[in-house]
């Protein structure tokens, strides 16, 4: 496929020819040709399973291609593993958390390189900490020190540590695979600054794999769209600036007109009279006196930066954290722990999907029926037939892409994993669903389906508390929107057609 509008004088740093990858009968990449040039921030977009991550994971040595050839710096390239690839200059920041727990930040950064600081078999930790501090400073990270234990860092900060570990002076190609969803606002700024410095000042290349269309359009200077293992086309910076670019890219990704319907189409806030969940003056840690009433058939959105306390509100409403003051009332009774919450018909989808919301190392069916085991027990035991029926109903309803309910969740793509975590609660028949970052790491096709599903839940009279860092979906879906900053509510707005992101951001930062 011809690349348009790129300067021919740019040096090609990486090239794949006829790259083909099959997992058993499933073809992930069909004979793909791609060239990466120096100075490029190349965006790769496509739906889950389109092969966008696969290309770069092969280039970075995570897995071999089934057939095809790769060239790196003009020579034939076939890395045996990620270690070799990283040493040669292709680094990849992965979607999943990848830090070593229970040791310090410095030990994480220099894992496998302790020799640099060792003398007579002893490691000079002071020197290592100092070097780590220097590095962190260089990347513009001031709130983390080399001495800090990794366990004490937030999920977002751990991601930054990975970036510091991956990127060295020798790194020629940096692959950022869905990393930004795991970063805080400040973390993203640090990463953006880094990739622009690498490409503009050091003439290196960055490949940016993301679901976030706004981010891609803002940061990348070339965009490649994939679908079903094929490269559908490339867009230049000028094409990305065109007013209909988003529509065009979506069409390329999905292959059909996905329709204008994405978020809710009505702009009138609505709900039933009956109160579904009443959070009364709760205080915990830095959060003081927070109240919220959620009614049947209402979607309440809470937005803010990730450290603003909104995620804690979700946990508190589900009984996961101990309250200093106040209470959460459901059906006239207080909810004190998550067992009571579940029995009272509350479901919770954690932001930390792979670690908290689902059991990766378990079949889909076991995940879906887990909260419903008590109601499935009849006459002292659980009939496998009932279990399968409940699970298959949900798999069908959510159109979870799988061979059968016996398939392990860790073999599913991100979007399908998220569907499993939704299915758990619809199977249980929960009437109040607390969803923390429900569409994190999910592509637009699945997002669209999720939004339709959330709207359907609302129509069924379920009450939804949607906590999210994505303003567009909060504006698009909520009947009422609460904005938090520094553990306090700074604004509350009703659904309306005129609500704009820019109006909201000022309350967040």
């Amino acid at each position: 496929m011809e690349e348009r509008g790129t300067d021919m004088s740019q040096e090609i740093i990486f090239e794949a020819k006829h790259m083909h990858k099959a997992f058993g009968p499933t073809i992930a990449l069909k004979d793909v040709d791609i060239q990466i040039k120096r100075g490029e921030i190349r965006g790769l977009v496509g739906e889950n399973g389109s092969g966008k991550s696969t290309i770069m994971s092969i280039a970075a040595g995570m897995q071999p291609a089934t057939s095809g050839e790769m060239y790196y710096k003009g020579e034939k390239w076939s890395p045996k593993n990620m270690v070799e690839s990283q040493n040669q200059g292709i680094s990849m920041i992965l979607q999943e958390a990848n830090t070593i727990p229970h040791v310090t930040v410095a030990q994480n950064i220099f894992a496998g390189q302790e020799k640099l600081f060792s003398k007579a078999g002893l490691i000079n930790m002071t020197a290592m900490y100092k070097k780590a501090d220097e590095l962190l400073q260089k990347f513009g990270i001031s709130n983390i020190k080399g001495k800090d234990p990794v366990g004490r860092l937030t999920f977002e900060d751990r991601k930054l540590i990975e970036i510091v570990r991956c990127v060295t002076d020798d790194t020629q190609i940096l692959v950022v695979d869905e990393t930004t969803t795991a970063l805080s606002h400040e973390g993203r700024e640090i990463l953006y600054k880094l990739i622009h410095k690498m490409t503009e000042e050091e003439n290196k290349a960055v490949v940016f794999v993301s679901h976030d269309m706004d981010e891609i359009l803002e940061q990348c200077n070339v965009l490649t769209v994939l679908r079903d293992g094929d490269i559908i086309g490339h867009l230049t910076r000028e094409e990305m600036d065109a007013p209909d670019a988003v529509q065009k890219i979506r069409l390329m990704m999905v292959g059909r007109e996905i329709g204008r319907k994405y978020f809710r189409e009505d702009f009138i806030p609505s709900h039933q009279e009956e109160v579904a969940l009443d959070i009364q003056n709760i205080s915990m840690g830095p959060i003081k006196d927070f109240s919220l009433t959620l009614r049947k058939g209402e979607i309440v959105g809470i937005g803010g930066l990730s450290g603003c306390g909104m995620h804690d509100i979700g946990k508190a409403a589900y009984g996961l954290v101990k309250l200093d003051k106040g209470q959460v009332i459901r059906n006239g009774k207080p909810v004190k722990n998550c067992l009571q919450a579940i029995e009272a018909g509350i479901g919770y989808i954690s932001k930390n999907r792979d670690l908290e919301a689902i059991i990766l190392d378990a079949p889909i069916q076991a995940n879906i029926v887990l909260p419903s085991l008590t109601s499935l027990t009849k006459g002292g035991y659980i009939r496998p037939k009932d279990e399968k029926k409940l699970s298959d109903e949900q798999i069908d309803a959510f159109r979870i892409k799988c061979g059968s309910g016996k398939q392990y969740v860790n073999t599913l793509s991100g979007g399908n994993k998220q569907k499993v975590s939704f299915a758990k609660w619809t199977a249980k028949g929960s009437d109040v669903i607390i969803m923390d970052s429900p569409t994190r790491g999910v592509d637009i096709g699945v997002k669209q389906a999720m939004y339709a599903l959330i709207e359907q839940m609302k129509a069924e009279g379920k009450a939804i508390l949607m906590i999210s860092e994505e303003l567009s979906e909060l504006i698009g879906m909520s009947d009422r929107l609460i904005i938090m900053k520094d553990f306090r509510v700074t604004a509350e707005m009703e659904r309306s057609a005129d609500l704009k992101q820019t109006d909201i951001i000022e309350y967040m930062i």
Binding site: F23, G24, P25, T26, A28, G49, N81, M82, V83, Q86, N87, N98, I109, F110, A111, G112, Q113, R165, C166, T168, Y318, L320, C338, L339, A341, I342, E343, Y348, S350, L355, E356, A357, I358, I359, L360, D361, A362, P363, A366, L370, P371, L373, T374, T377, G380, Y381, I382, R383, P384, K401, C402, G403, Q407, T411, L412, S413, N416, K424
Partner: protein
């Protein structure tokens, strides 16, 4: 990536079923190997006498291992069970001798076993300590109690008087008890909340808790189920010889662990835990115990061979290739 139905005997099939292959393969290999090798060396392992030795060798280990499936599926373990067997055997002999009631001895043992189970199950979760630690404490305490009892008696062993323990030597009873146990545990493990929740806890305690599973409760249940079967195992251990000593049960906790691993049980617990692992592993373990001496391997070498087989199984089931990423 999705929709991959793995073909039988493909590379992927071997990968996903490695633990089951190791479990079934181990026991099949032992059966085939000893069926051929033992008749050549003189006496077949399937002769009536050897078969009965095999059954009596396997029974205690199998009862313990099957009972321990719940605890191991949590990703926990209990290293006090050897000492528990010793203490219960001692209690049964002593109570039967002093009161004439064997049942009373069993009941007292059950009460202690349930108590230990509840404490072992609860402490890990409530005090946030590893399950090995609390069971280690019990191991030491029980060891102390046993020393006190035997030094008080001035003897290192006690034997049953006026009680016919003949019935516990019957291979038929042993097999029936084991079959009943396997049925009960399989039922609880595969068809009730207890087993499903235990496996979920083993696979991901955080997600399990957020799905409404009471970790303390189900851990306690798992330990209590095991405790009950430890008492059953103690009955057969004591019944075979009609006596108990201060070394009864020593090392059983490790034999259980080895048997479970030989059967393909993941030590981290989780969804791949199966009751069959315990049965298969126990038989592999005992086949080696009984078969190797028949083909002329000295008893003191048997442990080395077991160690080699153990390493092979561990290598098959725990293979992961991952290097540390450099900076």
């Amino acid at each position: 990536m999705e929709n991959t139905k793995t073909k039988i005997f493909s590379k992927n099939w071997f990968k996903t079923n490695a633990s089951a292959i190791a479990g079934y393969g181990g026991v099949l290999f032992c059966i085939i190997f000893f069926s051929i090798a033992t008749p050549l060396a003189g006496e077949s392992i399937w002769s009536a006498a050897k078969l009965s030795t095999l059954i009596s060798d396997v029974i205690v280990l199998a009862i313990l291992s099957v009972g321990a499936v719940f605890v191991y599926s949590l990703g926990s373990m209990d290293i006090s069970i050897g000492k528990q067997v010793g203490l219960y055997a001692t209690i049964m002999v002593a109570i039967t001798n002093s009161t004439g009631s064997f049942i009373l001895g069993v009941l007292i043992s059950l009460v202690i076993a349930v108590f230990i189970g509840l404490v072992n199950g609860a402490t890990g979760e409530l005090l946030h300590i590893h399950s090995v630690v609390s069971s280690l404490v019990f191991m030491m305490v029980l060891s102390g109690i046993s020393t006190l009892i035997y030094s008080g008696m001035g003897s290192r062993n006690v034997a049953l008087k006026n009680f016919d323990h003949h019935i516990f030597k019957s291979p038929v009873l042993m097999v029936i008890v084991l079959i009943v146990e396997v049925i009960i545990v399989t039922f609880l493990f595969n068809f009730t909340k207890f087993g499903k929740n235990a496996r979920a806890i083993g696979a991901n305690p955080v997600a399990a808790e957020q799905s409404g599973i009471n970790l303390v409760k189900y851990k306690m249940i798992a330990y209590v189920i095991m405790g009950v079967f430890v008492v059953v195992a103690a009955i057969f251990q004591m019944g075979y010889t009609g006596s108990a000593s201060d070394s009864t049960g020593t090392g059983f906790e490790m034999n259980v662990m080895v048997a479970l691993i030989l059967g393909g049980m993941p030590l981290s617990g989780g969804m791949k835990s199966r009751v069959s692992c315990a049965v298969l592993g126990s038989f592999t373990f005992s086949l080696l115990n009984v078969g190797l001496p028949i083909i002329g391997i000295p008893v003191n070498t048997v442990n080395f061979i077991k160690a080699i087989i153990f390493i092979i199984v561990v290598l098959i089931t725990c293979r992961k290739s991952r290097g540390i990423l450099p900076r």
